[in-house]
């Protein structure tokens, strides 16, 4: 039986359970945690605004099956607020994976979080995606990952090369 998360913690196990349910329901092919929370898997904790769940859509259309996904999550009690879904007040974004993010989902690391099976972007993909976005906070994230994560530099160079990405000057 799954461990009940305390009300003052982030509802990450509930988010992972819901994402697994979307796969079981045939609404998404695969998914993984990306963004700041994926970075935190490898570095010291820092404050973040939301959770980013990247998914590989079943539906190849522009809508990527989003209406059905939102409907399923709303049936679990999640609320829609702008571009986010809220679970116990914590914003979650479901983002259709494409290009380097799709590869990041496919090659994500499998973890067990509080008894729930989940996938999380590899540190090298977190770096490559941050390099592709290139905001100030992305540069800071790259620097932090280089300082604190155990990186496979060859794997990182391979990702950067295949997706024609360059690391920013830190």
């Amino acid at each position: 039986m799954a461990v009940q998360e305390s009300a003052d913690n982030l509802p990450l196990a509930e988010i992972f359970r819901a994402a697994n349910d979307l796969v079981a329901a045939g609404l998404v092919r695969d998914w993984a945690l990306g963004g700041a929370l994926a970075a935190i898997y490898y570095v010291e904790p820092f404050s973040t605004y939301d959770a980013d769940i990247f998914f590989i859509p079943i539906d190849e259309s522009l809508a990527a099956g989003i209406p059905a996904i939102y409907g399923r999550l709303q049936a679990r009690g999640w609320q829609v607020e702008g571009e986010h879904l809220l679970v116990r007040g914590f914003p979650v974004q479901f983002l259709a994976a494409i290009g380097v993010t799709e590869e990041a989902v496919r090659e994500a690391e499998r973890i067990d979080y509080e008894g729930v099976s989940a996938k999380i972007f590899r540190a090298e993909h977190v770096i490559a995606i941050a390099a592709s976005v290139g905001r100030t906070k992305d540069k800071a994230r790259i620097e932090q990952l280089f300082q604190q994560a155990d990186l496979d530099k060859e794997y990182l160079q391979n990702i950067l090369h295949r997706h024609k990405l360059k690391l920013p000057i830190l």
Binding site: V43, E44, P45, T48, Q147
Partner: protein, 45 residues
């Protein structure tokens, strides 16, 4: 020493780090309110 401490935090179990993130989010939400309350109570003196 500070770098050592940061690395130690980075090596903590993910669930523990998530608990710390939740604390940081709570602090970030509450801190501006505390600042406002402080300003109000000072101006009331």
């Amino acid at each position: 020493m500070k770098e050592k401490m940061r690395l130690k935090l980075a090596r903590e179990p993910f669930a523990e780090k998530i608990r710390k993130v939740a604390q940081l989010i709570r602090l970030a939400k509450n801190f501006p309110r505390r600042q406002r309350e402080l300003r109000i109570s000072r101006s009331a003196r």
